[in-house]
Symmetry: C2
DNA sequence: ATCAAAATGTAGCAGATGCTACAGGTGGGA
DNA sequence: TCCCACCTGTAGCATCTGCTACATTTTGAT
């Protein structure tokens, strides 16, 4: 428990990398430990239990996700709502974000199964995403928070469509909805 | 392999029930077998392997999902696009559909992880959903297929939001998007 | 230097997992 | 009646799971 902060951070970074590459739901202690050069024994010792480990990892991922968004697409206003949508969709489809999409769906799956920690992490990630998106809306957008939430919901649909290889449906939806929102 | 068709169907029905109640990703042979009154030994014998079992079960679920939609909300045209959206959202939130939402996210999670069978099942379910939704659009809707795909993408976002307890965001998005589509 | 607390390695436990070897039924065609 | 293909129960095996007992090293305050 008294694990020094930087080493704890390094472990979480390493485990996050492993989880982004291999999935979250089926992650088990030994591979996670190997990914950061320690043993399952140590993970349990310092995090108390696997549940504690996952809790910490989820928090880490939530923070990392939003930070990753900001790093990938520096803050700035889009020219129009359709532009804003297109930019974010392109960002979500960036190969660098592929791992996040997978982990994101793992989190949703566990949350839908009733896991409170995953649900909380999902809410945190979503809140950060909403805030970030609101800051990218075109200057002067009316009801920015509500618009961000609406776009966000649509974007979640895009992630779902992409996950089963239906990017075409997602593209059509983004095009139509973006246009419709213009004439709101 | 020569399992009689009705018994195979009964097994798949029973396993689907079990999966809707307990999740798909963590389902293992012994509980599945117990749910239909047989043994893991028999499941492997008749389906070849767990992979074969899951394949068959996914196909069964895909069919059952669309059939369930049609049974729950008999075919008919909605009065307007917002009405259509509201009806379907209410249907998706019906407690009877809760199990499907969970299994659906399990499927998406596995599909995002690269599992071909789950991806295929996801596409099948989505295609059936799209067709069913198209048949519920208001009479005279222009570009019905494209509109159905757009609504579908938004609805997937609603499922995601609901899964982490953010029904409010989903409601706001549905309201705004429904209104926007009216002025398309 | 001392000594208690913290940290780590080794080995293993108990349960679950997918799957299999073996031994038997069971039933219908010859 | 015999036989053979199909079906099923019993009992495991090998592996993986989270976690722990035990022994040892390392660390930091005194």
């Amino acid at each position: 428990m008294t694990l020094s902060d930087d080493r704890r951070q390094a472990w979480l970074d390493g485990m996050a990398q492993h989880v982004l590459a291999h999935g979250l739901n089926n992650a088990s202690l030994r591979p996670l430990a190997q990914a950061v050069g320690t043993s399952d024994r140590m993970l349990i010792y310092h995090f108390g239990s696997k549940e504690g480990l996952i809790d910490a990892l989820l928090r880490h991922l939530a923070g990392g996700f939003v930070a990753g968004l900001e790093a990938a697409l520096p803050p700035g206003r889009a020219a129009s709502l359709p532009d804003c949508l297109a930019e974010v969709v392109a960002l979500l489809r960036n190969p660098a974000m592929a791992g996040y999409a997978r982990v994101w769906l793992d989190i949703l799956s566990a949350a839908a199964g009733g896991d409170a920690a995953h649900r909380q992490a999902g809410q945190d990630i979503m809140a950060g995403f909403a805030l970030w998106l609101e800051g990218r809306l075109p200057e002067g957008t009316a009801q920015p928070a509500a618009v961000a939430e609406a776009l966000l919901t649509l974007l979640e649909g895009v992630i779902v469509m992409d996950s089963i290889g239906q990017q075409g449906m997602a593209d059509a939806a983004v095009a139509m909805m973006g246009q419709a929102l213009l004439n709101r």
